[in-house]
Symmetry: C2
Subunit: 262 residues, 2 copies
Amino acid sequence: MIGIFDSGIGGLTVVKRVFEILPGYQILYFGDTARTPYGGRSREVIQKYALEDAEILIENGAKIIIIACNTVSAVAFDFLKEKIKLPIFEVVTPAVEKAIQITRNKRIGVIGTRATVSSKIFEKLIHEKNPQIQVFQNPAPLLVPLVEEGWLKKPETRMIVKKYLLPLKLKQIDTLILACTHYPFLKEIIQRKIGQRVKLVDPGEAVVLIVKKFLTQNPEIEKSLIKGGNHQFMVSDLTPKFQEIAKNWLGREVKLGEIKIK
Amino acid sequence: MIGIFDSGIGGLTVVKRVFEILPGYQILYFGDTARTPYGGRSREVIQKYALEDAEILIENGAKIIIIACNTVSAVAFDFLKEKIKLPIFEVVTPAVEKAIQITRNKRIGVIGTRATVSSKIFEKLIHEKNPQIQVFQNPAPLLVPLVEEGWLKKPETRMIVKKYLLPLKLKQIDTLILACTHYPFLKEIIQRKIGQRVKLVDPGEAVVLIVKKFLTQNPEIEKSLIKGGNHQFMVSDLTPKFQEIAKNWLGREVKLGEIKIK
């Protein structure tokens, strides 16, 4: 199985990309809804939670792992890579590579959680590849609870998106990395507020393309993955809200269950 | 020590009331910032977290405990009362009693987290005392992240408050229970949006008055409390944001520390 984890529901945007780009593989999703959100927490706490999440996927049969969470990718990937023996993929590097390909004016914007932005990982990776690119970041922490509440089209959400994007718009970025897997839920509003000329980078899409390439190059791992549509969506706290959002977003009935954090 | 716990920073509004109404007693505060917010989680998860929080206070010397969280009071008080041997106080009953005293037109409004509202505890307790009172509830979950972000006076916050209060305003309530300890941070906006004629009930104030009475009636417990200003504010994840809000809200420098959840 392809194991995918996130702090909560945001990773479902990555699942949607797996359905599109890698159809046919069985998915095991784990969302840590009992401890969501991660984005305002310290590095140490995020690392601890992320390791527990990855272990749950492994115990339940995952053969490769996608970290469907920018916060975890930004502050806990190196830590996880040391502890976990399976192939493990994060969303930051693929997004960085894609943004570098896309930008024309060498001005890239990044919105993410407070933890992701403070980590400065996007700036660091972009500058490693091309020090001439300017990177402008702004934390946009309230977008996570707005998405979790399902306020995807409300005027208040539009205003808050606009407020978070204004400083980046003034910097005349031509590429914007949506550095939180919750944000694709708000893609249309974000596109409208930042302007139609700015290209959006969805890290979920970028990572799934990398995974696809990896599976082509590693047929023995590809073969170990179960095929078929018997996907499992597990969370650490199963609430009606999660069930509703999962169904609406994925556009299909999915099997939902609960795995408790010890 | 008087032990006070909350899922995060909301309980600081109760601390402020303790400073005003019970000055001189040493406070031990614990905010479970590594797992905040509780308000959208299931009953079972909230009970587990609440018991762990209370045990941390007891291990560190609390002699009485105030649950400075409506969500925990609403869904985990009976559970905690069975497990904990110390005097323990919750914020729901005192708020209910006060609201019943205040209302003239017998129409009481309640705003709270999703878990608090779904518990229907306010409705149940009010009807036990007076079945003729009508209770109108509305969950207001986004107010917690708005407060945690420090967006106390932004236009978006005003709009969201207005949206949450409108259904209650239409019901012509004359009393509104702020059934989440985060909400007193937004007291002015709430008062303006619901109208000056509506009386607000702050459960934090109500519970501290009850504790004061209890201490007068139980001198042996009152004597066991340490006096002095050496308050301790502990959280499960110490972030700069918490430090900033604690300092601003309490209007003084406070000693902050971290106690990890195992």
